[in-house]
């Protein structure tokens, strides 16, 4: 399916095709060069596993954020509430073998090996803007496959109105889970039509390579029109449900974190404005950019919410 993407991007934001394509060569060279100096496992998977995957249909040509910034600034409370510490601590996670348990309102429940899931779901690149609820954003070339394609293979029943995702729970390694910062394990959810939307993907890589552990390896959700906390990491369980699932951040502060969490500059967080966002990697003298409704994906997804009051269902 071909997905149209709104093209109201500043010309200064568009990366020249040649520059954009040479980026991979640069990253590869830089990775090879630095491999001898850096910690061996810090965010580096086998070089360029996905180096030659096709670019997906909805990849707008946004100015991609430096990989270093994306891999070094992660909210991964399972390890630490500090965005740099979580990068280091997440390296303890073992991501092979990995399986995903599929339960609930579905004809084909079971435990699926990630290798098998990947055989059925060919990956491609999607360049999306990622907007955190904390009012910063970055542009990431994810590698992944449409979430809906995978979900359909499990044959959801007619009762499946929502999908719930759960992160691995392992406090021995995920040391942040020993604290009561959130009610573990992390749980997120989507309405079934949101989950089936072609822009929602399951990511297994980024920047032409495997996902770094701190970015949610080996399998994470990416829902580009919602705040980042919806895009749950290290998924081990998918449940199809008739009722709306209770999600981790909603449980933590229901008045602040809605179930829908669509990016919306018109609905401010109870404690801060959502009108602007700091673009990671921009100069310190660059003003914040104006946040777009649905993070700029309104043309594709606004229809999902046409009959809803987005101030109420934030």
């Amino acid at each position: 399916m071909l997905i149209k993407t709104k093209a109201n991007i500043l010309s200064s934001e568009i990366t020249d095709r040649a520059v954009f394509e040479s980026r991979r060569e640069f990253i590869k060279a830089a990775t090879a060069f630095s491999a001898g100096f850096l910690l061996p496992s810090l965010g580096q998977a086998e070089t360029g596993k996905y180096a030659d995957v096709p670019v997906g249909p909805s990849s707008a040509k946004l100015a991609v954020t430096d990989r270093e910034d994306v891999a070094g600034y992660t909210n991964y409370y399972e390890f630490s509430t500090n965005k740099q510490d979580s990068t280091v601590l997440a390296q303890a996670l073992k991501i092979k073998p990995w399986s995903v348990e599929v339960v609930g309102e579905v004809a084909k429940p079971g435990v699926y090996d990630l290798e098998d899931i990947l055989k059925d779901n060919p990956v491609h690149e999607r360049i999306y803007r990622f907007r955190c609820v904390e009012a910063w954003s970055m542009v990431v070339p994810w590698i992944g496959f449409p979430l809906g394609d995978m979900l359909k293979r499990f044959k959801p029943t007619s009762k499946a109105k929502f999908v719930e995702f759960t992160t691995l729970y392992n406090p021995e390694i995920m040391i942040g889970q020993r604290s009561g910062v959130l009610d573990w394990p992390y749980v997120e959810g989507l309405r079934i039509d949101e989950a089936m939307h072609p822009l929602a993907i399951m990511a297994t890589g980024m920047y032409g390579d495997e996902l770094p552990k701190q970015n949610g390896a080996p399998l994470r959700l990416i829902v580009p029109w919602k705040y980042g906390f919806k895009s749950i990491k290290a998924i081990v369980k998918i449940r199809f449900m008739e009722n709306m699932p209770e999600t981790a951040w909603h449980k933590s502060a229901p008045n602040e974190n809605g179930f829908y969490a669509n990016v919306n500059p018109e609905v401010s967080h109870p404690r801060w404005s959502q009108r602007r966002e700091r673009v990671l990697g921009s100069s310190i003298f660059t003003p914040k950019r104006d946040t777009e409704k649905f993070n700029g994906y309104g043309a594709e997804v606004a229809g999902l919410y046409s009959d809803m009051d987005l101030k109420r269902y934030f």
Binding site: R271, W272, K288
Partner: protein, 241 residues
């Protein structure tokens, strides 16, 4: 203390340099592009943290004096206090100049929506008169009022804590550490104040008795006054526990 005038000057120079060190290191990181993916946030949080840390150090000086019986901690009050103001100013400057890019529109939109920013601005407003009246000259001119005015730092400590608590998303660990430290430092003062009040009150009690005798006021009246005073003492010692 054993140090001479020259000795104290060199100690002051050392403490001054140490206090400037966090600023120097951050500037160095900024020049070498080592502030991470979100340099504005890194600078903004670091300066805020250092303002709060110096506030804790400043509030600790009087308790150190009380506990050790030495008066030397008082020599550093002005310098530490001005470093609170220095780091708080940088914290605010980063917010206004870099985070908001000096945009009035952004200020108008973002500040009223954020109770924690308002609390931060209030805290800074409380620090301004303290910095302005920090000179020896102002101290002399204000006399006893200077001490009263500078008690504003206790309020600033509390509003700074609220500012921190309100901006946290879920992990209150660090803000709680500051809260415990500041509470202990303020509690020491309350205890000492109560002790002083008790001593005074005992003296007051005897004075009341004498006065009532002299004036021939009825004994009953004196007892009532004495009871009121005793209750005050009792309240104070209860608060202490």
């Amino acid at each position: 203390m054993l140090l001479g005038r020259k000795g104290w000057v060199s100690v002051k120079v050392i403490i001054f340099s140490l206090s400037l060190l966090p600023f120097g290191l951050l500037v160095n990181d900024a020049i070498n592009d080592r502030l991470g993916a979100n340099p504005i946030e890194t600078l903004h949080f670091a300066f805020g943290d250092w303002a709060l840390r110096f506030l804790c150090i400043g509030l600790a000086l009087t308790p150190i004096k009380i506990i050790t019986g030495q008066s030397w901690p008082m020599r550093f009050r002005r310098m530490i206090g001005l470093f609170v103001f220095f780091y708080a100013s940088l914290h605010l400057l980063i917010f206004i100049a870099l985070d908001l890019s000096l945009s009035w529109a952004a200020f108008k939109d973002e500040v009223p929506k954020s109770p924690y920013i308002l609390m931060g601005l209030l805290t800074y407003a409380l620090l301004i008169p303290l910095a302005v009246t920090s000179t020896k000259n102002m101290q002399k001119r204000l006399g006893r009022n200077w001490i009263k005015l500078h008690r504003l730092i206790y309020i600033a400590g509390l509003t700074a804590l609220i500012h921190y608590f309100w901006l946290v998303k879920a992990d209150y660990t660090e803000s709680l550490i500051y809260a415990v430290v500041i509470s202990i430092l303020l509690a020491i003062r309350i205890i000492v104040h109560c002790r002083k009040t008790r001593k005074l009150s005992l003296r007051d009690l005897s004075r009341v008795v004498l006065r009532s005798d002299k004036a021939g006021v009825s004994a009953q009246h004196g007892v009532v006054e004495m009871q009121a005073l005793r209750n005050r003492v009792h309240d104070c010692s209860r608060r202490k526990h």
